[in-house]
Symmetry: C2
Subunit: 518 residues, 2 copies
């Protein structure tokens, strides 16, 4: 059946309906005003819950059955156990054995460990995934093999969709490294500690039914209550919720590539010379090798100047923890801990505080943290001549990455993308991004090993570093340079079929991904 | 206009409509099942809030005007500043000057300091108060002088009503001893510290508009975020939100009355001999002189036995803090700090944790703390031969007290009412309570200076202490003894007009208060 499409405000052709539900085309940054009220889940009554507060049931299967698992339901999970998650797949194994069909999986992200779900997608247990997909699942979608249409949302867009009732979660299955019998839960403690549970809050507040799964049942009260037992229906205690060495990356590694180190150095220099780095600065970077190197360089500058960052927003790493512990950072507000040092820090540093993405990133909120950040270091698979960014597809058209909090982070004051000019001989700067994830007006600076391009919209930054000696270039120059070395890559070729929609932070559709033409 | 009344499950005549809204008669404990969904306030958008997170406006008046203050709105406040609150009255002063009419004041409690509101009730600025009333306001209501009908809810019933949309708060004005410019707020710090803000959470989550008023603007982020800035519209910084010596009672005082001390001693002995007091016990008492004495006696027993209370739920006092600090209590979960020592403890003891009544007391939740408490020490103005309790009116029929969390606390495993047999020569045990606040089936033991009466429904307790040497009596015997001394008091005389409704924890109407016949 043909679905009508329209050209949205970003010039992309998007459908007016996705998975049989109406979809609103992107209207421009800050242009879509929500209407109506937040979703209210059903009113529960304490009469339906045990007086002694003990909600433990014998198995995940029992919990799912008691939650009334049935065809067509939406099941949410969070990704704090990352590639070490042992529970998400199990939900659908159980559903498959029970003969349940057409489920929607609504994870905060998926990982390579979720590849086994392909068989449940093929079998019909799962109709579709609404959530970021890395690797094999993304490839499956790109090949047009998923029954429903994927819907990719940023972390903030995901919680917005939950809050606004765009996605009604029937059952949230929330793994927790520590939980008490009432369902209060946290990210620290136990054999599967992940530090914080910053992606679970909206699910727990808005899902009709909530199951907490833990391998570390602690005495009530389990503090801090990142998940509040008042929202939890059942608690499942199991042997093992995750594989520790795959939950955290052990120790995050600074890049050793000379090119990436150069990019990091240039980024730090740019931030210093532009005056963006200052006493009281607020900052956020990621856990990639280049970001870590940038964090180290910035820390050195702060130390040298006697400055202090007011707070950093995590994904936290040991380099942020070092800044905190050495006094160069006031607080780490944290939605997820990336490495072991960060996990340990959450448990011991009172200024390393869980801070859910529901608070940090939700655009349909009375403000949020993102617009208060001075420095935002982000990545991209592609950037185009209009500074538009792509983070989900490669230039060959395949959906291979999640959006994460990328779109949300674009709302920061200074959005810096330190990027290699090419990867595997594929240029990163293109005429037009394969998939539009973020509008160019929100991306301020591209920093490559061969020069820095500042978005012409940021004349203030251009003026600020004009005489700094930094290697400033236009984005066109950078693109030309890459193409001199690598040649101009072939454009990805697509069928007409839409396999995934990309939502903007306000719930509108900014772009779609179409089936790969093979 | 005559409003139809019916006899509810407790045998009380209650109206089917209150303030032009339908009312559901009490159906029996645990009998009313809620239906439908929780209230969802309007979806906001970050585009309407300052990017730098600074929501400070120049005055409370400006904030109220920006919130669209108008006739008929419901304005909520919390009572953490108790009798030292300088802001609640100011709201209505402003409204009065602006000529706004027919407001509903929806406080979590009112205090004698709120007596000046009588003039706004008389003038028509305020149509009615939905909330507990002490002293002068209660008398005003009892005399039939308030335009609308008062609605009295327990702390848990209040948050239930907010959550379920029974009461839609248009504007919540939440005072905060510390707040940042984004509206994150806490109960500690500053000149008006009150320790915790356990009554403010539901208001902040569900009100359409939220104003935070502070006299102590701190750097963002203000932690712990008892009120989350994501729900706050405006922040008002003012010179003084409260009078410190009236916010906390300084130092809570143990009773010096020999009779009350005897009651406390008997209570402790009963709890020990009945086996209710045990290692790992969970307990809650109040801040009254008798309760404090009981806490001290229980602490001595715990020490002697080498036992530890798993946690206590506050209202916290210095006696709970002593137990915590000396190792006889694992946690204080706290909705309000009653004295200075408790306020200080919240700021320094990591196991003294803010715990909102929204989590502790809400009956329309997936369970709550109340049913997990082993020992619950409560008061009452009257108890009758069926163990029914009254906490709001005196035997002369005047509404003079708030309900507090009393109804919620009745859900504890062992509800103990240590009561003097008479007050000012008025017996406390009566044939039938003047106002029914809690059904007798939930009240387990009455402990007076002249004997202990156990509810016949608790045969287990009767059996447990049969040979303990404790002065066990029937409630009839206790009543007769009081009447021998004081005589039988005259019954209160009422007109037909209903001046206040008493809600049960599930939102149904358990009783009403009628206009005093003078």
């Amino acid at each position: 059946m043909a679905i009508s499409t329209v050209i949205n405000a970003a010039g992309r052709s998007v459908p007016l309906e996705i998975n049989n539900k109406p979809a609103i085309p992107f209207k421009g940054v800050g242009k879509h005003k929500p209407y109506g009220n937040k979703y209210g889940p059903p009113v529960p009554s304490s009469t339906d819950f045990p007086e002694d507060g003990n909600k433990v049931v014998s198995s995940l299967e029992e919990a799912l059955l008691r939650c009334g698992l049935m065809d067509g339901m939406t099941i949410s999970t969070h990704h704090h156990l990352r590639d070490g998650d042992l529970i998400s797949n199990k939900i659908f194994e159980i559903a498959s054995v029970l003969g349940v069909k057409d489920l929607v999986w609504f994870p905060s992200a998926s990982f390579p460990c979720n590849e086994p779900l392909i068989k449940y997608l093929e079998k019909g247990t799962i109709n579709r995934i609404e959530g970021s997909m890395n690797g094999p699942l993304g490839r499956f979608v790109s090949e047009g093999r998923m029954k429903g249409t994927a819907v990719l949302r940023s972390h903030g867009g995901r919680v917005q969709a939950i809050q606004d009732g765009e996605v009604k979660i029937d059952i949230a299955v929330l793994v927790a490294p520590s939980a008490d019998r009432f369902g209060n839960a946290r990210g620290t403690g136990g054999p599967s500690a992940c530090g914080v549970l910053g992606y679970a809050k909206a699910d727990s507040l808005y899902a009709d039914k909530v199951i907490v799964v833990t391998d570390n049942l602690v005495e009530l009260p389990c503090f801090p209550m990142e998940i509040e037992g008042n929202y939890v229906d059942y608690v499942v205690v199991t042997d093992k919720i995750g594989i520790p060495e795959k939950i955290v990356s052990g120790t995050t590694q600074i890049t050793k590539s000379p090119d990436r180190l150069l990019i990091a150095e240039l980024t730090a220099a740019f931030l210093e010379k532009s005056g963006i780095l200052k006493d009281g600065v607020t900052m956020q970077a990621g856990a990639g090798g280049t970001s870590l190197a940038i964090a180290v360089f910035l820390n050195e500058i702060l130390k040298k100047k006697g400055w202090k960052s007011k707070f950093g927003f995590g994904g936290s790493t040991r380099y942020m923890v070092e800044m905190l512990e050495q006094g160069q950072m006031g607080y780490i507000l944290d939605a997820q801990a990336f490495d072991l040092e960060a996990v340990i820090s959450v448990g011991k540093n009172p200024n390393h505080v869980p801070y859910p993405v529901f608070n940090a990133y939700n655009f349909h909120s009375k403000g949020n943290l993102t617009s208060m950040m001075d420095i935002m270091i982000l990545g991209a698979t592609e950037v185009d001549l209009n500074f538009n960014g792509n983070v989900v597809t490669h230039s060959d058209g395949y959906l291979l990455h999640g959006i994460g909090g990328w779109q949300n982070c674009l709302h920061a004051r200074n959005v810096i993308l330190p990027l290699p000019l090419f990867r595997d001989r594929i240029p990163v700067i293109v005429d037009e991004v394969t998939t539009l994830c973020g509008p160019g007006e929100m991306i301020d600076v591209i920093i490559t090993e061969r020069g820095i391009a500042i978005n012409p919209l940021r004349q203030d930054l251009i003026d600020g570093v004009r005489h700094s000696g930094l290697p400033l270039k236009s984005i066109q120059e950078l693109k030309a340079e890459a193409e001199r070395i690598c040649g101009k890559p072939a454009k990805a070729r697509f069928e007409e079929d839409i396999v995934a929609a990309i939502k903007w932070v306000d719930g509108t559709v900014i772009d779609v991904i179409r089936k790969i033409k093979v």
